[in-house]
Symmetry: C2
Subunit: 352 residues, 2 copies
């Protein structure tokens, strides 16, 4: 097969980790007889510097024309974390999600047997954890009307959901549950919020279409607790944008391998794959960043965007092999030899 | 001194644990020469059963007239967790908070050395944890306009904050920080939400009034992570209603002693003290519920409502003694002798 993949390296360590994912993807393509054409485009601080805008139209066009988007990381300190900055990278992120229609953020949290002792949680709490969040990504309070009144003294943010928005996300949840252990948890705050009541009643009405799936409904505060207590009691979880933001980040650290966690953001037309970690500006150019989350995001890309599970499995296998053989960057080397970002990528590509 | 204390036992195990807190409070009062008059009133399922309303006016009057409110727990299964039930106990909770003006929910999370191995987190992560959340409790998305349009197909919830609401909560945060390690963390989502930007700019403007306090600003998703990674890196945290709901529950389980965690909800006129655990209907009447969280809530009451730190310290001391000597209910007895709810209360009262 032939693919065009939009390559959004971003800023910080983005370009370095993306390079390794490209190498590994090319090696997989070669092995299985595919041909990838990479289409680089600017985002984040790199795009702000070049054209004053974190998600320029030119980049959007590259993404729309591509079969998938592989994304590095954005968030340079000169623009990041400062809500009063005139242009902020996260505005680009939100715009990108909205314009590409990436309504479902797929975030697996799992453990690597060899890394289990890195978890802040005790072994018996974390062992066997293998859960997936589907976070709604283009609705809710992120995108509702927001502003000030009373001369700036009052601020408001509207959270809005339509039944159709809930249905398309929930459908993905049910379908994913059918391919796994057929357990689905709908996370809401239906005891307080009207949007949550819409979520709950919509999911309840869909249950009869998937009689094999066991659905539970839990309040977001209860899930925030149970994720720490018994993360391995969850399988597929669906939730709205803001709850998903908080809970997926919480979930990402329980496995102790946050630097290894991949993600996908998918819609009807477009699909984007990215590591969940940030752009670690301090590490830029030092050849120390861990490329594995980006490489595993490429695995998700083969599986989800191209429906090529064997290619995905080949990547996962070589990553496991690298971990087992200690071909790792300094964040995981624990006194042993630390390999460079590039060297880990080379090793993976050579061992596919 | 003489106090009138409104006694809202609630339902489930509420009445049993409240009885022990009453006993211990009376013992403390006797020892220090105070006189407490208890004013019982109905809430929750008990009130719905009696008068069809979870927070009746008659109860409100008792609370307003009292010097403090001691609250057990509510949430009977016949009304709880069912968003479509016509009357729900949590409506009573929200009404009570609003009518009593309890705008600040104070939730400490700390460890008991003897219970540290109950934490799901590894010892080195949790050791030394002693943090306090101040959660805004009468504003935000809980109380903004909510409803449906488009014939029920679209749901909305408005999140609204005024600068004055942020100021009064933040003021309590700065003041609390001044009595502790002078570190304050403002938790928001200022990269996305306008209400969060109002929170952040308001707190920033207050910094100069408290030059000794070091203020940090963190996004809610980052805090959800760090609470699991290094809970002992936090001291005082302030945040809005919904973020506080999620994060305080997350924080409550990291110490492994959720059943021991007290809380206070305070306003300008009224103060209410309650355990953070629920009403465990399954345990009702079995004399097995752990009364310590309610007893420690009474300690907070002496300290915060009556400004009697010695009395509070006396309660904390006897609780520590009970834990050390194994005078505990079955949730903590670990194969040793399990005492009944009442027996623990009797022991505490006798040993004050
Ligand atoms: C940067 C921010 C806008 C973003 C979000 O909240 O969605 C990030 O936290 C994420 O989860 O991708
Ligand atoms: C029952 C519910 C409305 C309540 C809340 O969300 O405030 C509870 O979770 C709490 O934290 O006291």
């Amino acid at each position: 097969m032939k693919f065009n993949i939009a390559l959004l390296a971003g800023d910080g360590i983005g370009p370095e980790v993306i390079d390794q994912a490209v190498k590994v993807s090319d090696a997989v393509a070669k092995k299985f007889g595919h041909e990838i054409t990479w289409k680089p485009a600017l985002t984040g601080a790199a795009a702000i510097d070049a054209v004053g805008e974190p998600y320029p139209d030119s980049t959007h066009e590259v993404c729309v024309a591509a079969d998938a988007v592989l994304f590095g990381a954005i968030g340079h300190p000169k623009y990041d974390n400062d809500p009063s900055a005139p242009v902020r990278p996260e505005q680009g992120l939100l715009k990108m999600r909205k314009k590409l229609g990436l309504f479902a953020n797929v975030r697996p949290t799992f453990t690597f047997p060899s890394l289990i002792d890195k978890s802040p949680l005790k072994r018996e709490r974390i062992e066997g954890t293998d859960l997936v969040f589907l976070r709604e990504l283009t609705g809710g309070i992120y995108f509702g009307e927001k502003g000030r009144r009373d001369g700036g003294e009052t601020a408001f943010d509207n959270c809005v959901y339509t039944r159709a928005e809930v249905q398309r996300l929930a459908k993905k949840g049910f379908e994913l549950a059918m391919t796994r252990s057929k357990k689905l948890c709908c996370v809401d705050k239906a005891n307080v919020l009207e949007t949550s009541r819409l979520w709950r009643e919509t999911v309840q009405a869909m249950e009869k279409e998937y009689p094999e799936v066991t659905v539970s409904y839990e309040f977001v505060d209860a899930v925030a607790m149970r994720l720490v207590q018994w993360p391995n009691s969850y399988d597929v979880l669906i939730t709205e944008n803001l709850f998903g933001d908080i809970l997926t980040d919480e979930a990402s650290v329980i496995s102790g391998s946050m630097g290894l966690m991949p993600s996908a953001s998918v819609g009807t037309e477009n699909q984007l794959f990215e590591p969940i970690h940030g752009s670690y500006p301090q590490a830029t150019g030092l050849n120390i960043a861990n490329p594995l989350a980006t490489v595993l995001s490429a695995a998700m890309m083969f599986e989800m965007a191209f429906n090529l599970p064997e290619e995905g499995a080949a990547i996962r296998e070589v990553v496991n092999k690298a971990l087992a053989e200690g071909i790792v960057t300094e964040d995981l080397s624990e006194g042993g030899k630390a390999y460079g970002t590039k060297e880990v990528g080379d090793w993976l590509a050579a061992n596919i």
